[in-house]
Every structure is written in structure tokens, then in C-alpha cells.
Symmetry: C2
DNA sequence: GGTGCGTGTTACCGGTCAGTAACAACGGCA
DNA sequence: TGCCGTTGTTACTGACCGGTAACACGCACC
């Protein structure tokens, strides 16, 4: 029934012990990420999750609903990663800032499909799509956390540095998709360190 | 027949004196930009261009073909803008660099849908889509031009600055889509000037 | 007056899409 | 045993998708 855009049959590829809802959610996240939200159908998701379309619609009222739930789990994981910075380097905002840079670089290197939230914002052009508010809130939250980190690290122009680093990471993740791994995104770590040093020196 | 995603009927919205091919091309560019490539159908494009699907397919062998041609015109216009920098400030690479920054800021402010090339890279997930090579080549060309500009302006770490500014612009244009006009992208001009100053001071 | 090319029109193809209805089978639980 | 909530199965709807065939029309050019 469901077909992966490449042409191959779908393969059940998630923990079969979990409840259908969780299987659908994690499968949908993976497929949306790989093939785009508009590039994958609910039938394919259900089949890859080892269940069927009816069960999917019993748990998620619509495809847009499912998309929003997926993005919510993405946001939740992002928040957990932020928490880890302060756990790994308690009371050391400078170390946390550099960990943020390293984590960003690792993100870019590990997967060529960029940020799920930003990609969704590109793909879902409807200005009143329910996912838009979610994306906006999360992105704003991440930037504010970064600004607080910069301020705590003693940067005088903390807001400006946070904006700069935010744009650089966002740009690196989309540049990785358009010009590939060899492009500017490959130097994200070095560039970020240089920019931070410049702001600290000022 | 064709329907705009909003639900309204399509309206013919291009110069009716031009030949069908040109009308289709400019209409497709506009609709792809507003609703996404996967979000608009060839029927809608043809109707909005004041013609029909058959004529569209006589000029463009497939939808992917049409997409590629659209992106080529985007690339051509981008190249012309680059040329304008050296025309407006001949022999003054520093002025050209600042004009690049100002132009980028104006781009962000004028339209919330970001870069057509980057958006296409996000939307067209097929790794061997004919548009991917085009996008990659153009993006690489723009970065190289910027690097030459930075070097000519006397920046020692010209390559690194070019990468940084490239990512910042790319990020600003996608951030504008996800967090809105009030987000970090609003400060792109100030941030870029600060980064350039920091690289010049080093 | 003819000839051909570009264009318009209509109808169609097979496929995919999101979403729903009706019913059968399962599981635990009392 | 009977009950009930969850799940699976099948089939369906109506819409849209990219792409094509066949044919009629108009217009320039010779």
C-alpha cells in the first residue's frame, strides 16, 4: 500500500513492543524528516509503524495533528539537550556556551536534513497552520536561552551575540542541505569560536 | 480547475502580452515561492499564467523541468545583483561588501519566504533531483564571490568571514520564516557590520 | 489560397492523497 | 462467562496529482 518516495516498499522499523501511538509518532518523525512532510503519506507512515491508517486516525485526528505532535516531541528533545548543558557544566556559562557550539557542529555533521522545525516552517506555507505558532515559540525560546547564556558568560552585547550565533547555526543547517557537507557549514565550529572571541574581546 | 491552496480561485496575474513560455515561467516562480513546489500543481500554474496544461508541457517536459528552469532564472537574477555591486562601487570592495550586507537586509525585510534555492533544497528531498546540482553550484558561486570580495577588502581571514556571512544570511532568511520578522533576522545588518568590523580589526 | 507552427480545448489515464464506515478480532478485567 | 476498550482489516469516497492523446483553431508566411 504505502510507498517510500524512492520506490522501495516500506519496512517496519520501530520498536514493536511500544504502543501503536508511540510507534506511529517515532516513525512519522523519521519519515517526515527524511522525505518531508508533504512527501510522505499517512498510509506509508502507518504501515512503517507496523499498524494501519485507522489506528493512526484514532490517535491523531488529522495529518496536521500528527505533524504538530511530532514537532512537539522534537521541541521536547531540544529542551532536554539545553538542560544537559547546565547539568554538564553547572555554574560555568562559558563552558556551556562552547558546549552549545560543539553540539551544533555535531548536529550539522551527523545528519544532512537540518532542523525539523525550520524545515517544517519552509514546507508548511499556510500562514495559519497550527504548527507555525509552535515553531515560532520554540525557536524564540532557544534564542532567549542562548542570550541568557551569553550574558551569564560576561558578554556585553549578549543579545547581539545570541542573534548572531542563532543565525549561524540556522544557516549552517540549511546550507548543509543546499551546498553539502563540504560547504561553509563544515567550518561552523571555527567560525562560532571566532565570533565569540571577537564579542568577548570587545 | 486549478485551485490555490487558500481555497480561492486562481487569478491570471502576469503580463498578457508576453509569450506563453515566459508567462508560465514567471507565474510558476511566483506560485512556487508562495506555496512551495510541492504545494502547487501544474494545472494551477497554467491557469494562473492564462494558458493551459498542454502548452505548459509543450514548453517544459515535466514539472521537474519547470522547477529547474525557475531556479535557473532565480540564479540568473542573483548573478545580475552581484554584478551590480561592482558597477555601483567600482574598485571599492569594502563598499561592495557593505552593499551586499544592505541588500541582504533588504531581502529579509521585503519578503518572508526566504531564498528560493534554499527552500527548494529543503523541499526536494530526493538526493538525485536535477535541481540539487544547480542549487549547489549557485550557492557555492555566491560564497566564492563573497570570499573574493572579503579578500579584496583586505580581510586577512577572508574565507572564514565569507563563510560566516554566508551562514548568517542563509540563517536570517530561514529564521524569518520560522520566528517571524521580529526575530533575530531583524538585526542582520547590525550583526553583519559588527562581524565585519571584528574581522577587520583582527 | 495553401501550409505549418503555436496554441487552445476537452477528455482521459493511472496513481496517490486524506479521511471515513463497518465489522471482526483481540486483550484484560470483573 | 460476559464486557469493553483497543486494534486490525477491508473497502470505500471524492479530490487532486502529473502527464498524454486527439482534434480544432488562428495566424503568419510563402
Amino acid at each position: 500500500m504505502g510507498k517510500i518516495p524512492g520506490g522501495a516498499e516500506v519496512a517496519v522499523s520501530c520498536c514493536p513492543t511500544a504502543r501503536p501511538r508511540e510507534r506511529i509518532l517515532s516513525t512519522a518523525r523519521d519519515l517526515f524528516r527524511r522525505y518531508g512532510i508533504r512527501g510522505i503519506g499517512v498510509d506509508t507512515i502507518a504501515e512503517a509503524a507496523g499498524t494501519n491508517k485507522m489506528t493512526l486516525y484514532r490517535h491523531f485526528g488529522s495529518k496536521d495533528d500528527l505533524v504538530c505532535e511530532c514537532l512537539k516531541t522534537v521541541a521536547r528533545e531540544g529542551s532536554e539537550i539545553w538542560d544537559r548543558f547546565s547539568v554538564d557544566h553547572p555554574g560555568d556559562p562559558t563552558a556551556q556556551l562552547h558546549q552549545w557550539v560543539r553540539y551544533g557542529a555535531a548536529c550539522i555533521a551527523s545528519d544532512g536534513r537540518g532542523c525539523d522545525l525550520a524545515n517544517a516552517a519552509v514546507e508548511l506555507t499556510e500562514p495559519d497552520h497550527p504548527a507555525r505558532r509552535l515553531i515560532e515559540d520554540v525557536k524564540r525560546d532557544y534564542r532567549d536561552r542562548l542570550a541568557r547564556l551569553c550574558a551569564a558568560a560576561g558578554v556585553v552585547q549578549a543579545e547581539l551575540l545570541a542573534d548572531t550565533l542563532s543565525l549561524m547555526l540556522e544557516g549552517a543547517r540549511v546550507s548543509r542541505q543546499s551546498v553539502g557537507v563540504e560547504g561553509p557549514s563544515a567550518r561552523f565550529l571555527r567560525m562560532s569560536e571566532a565570533v565569540i572571541a571577537a564579542f568577548k574581546g570587545a
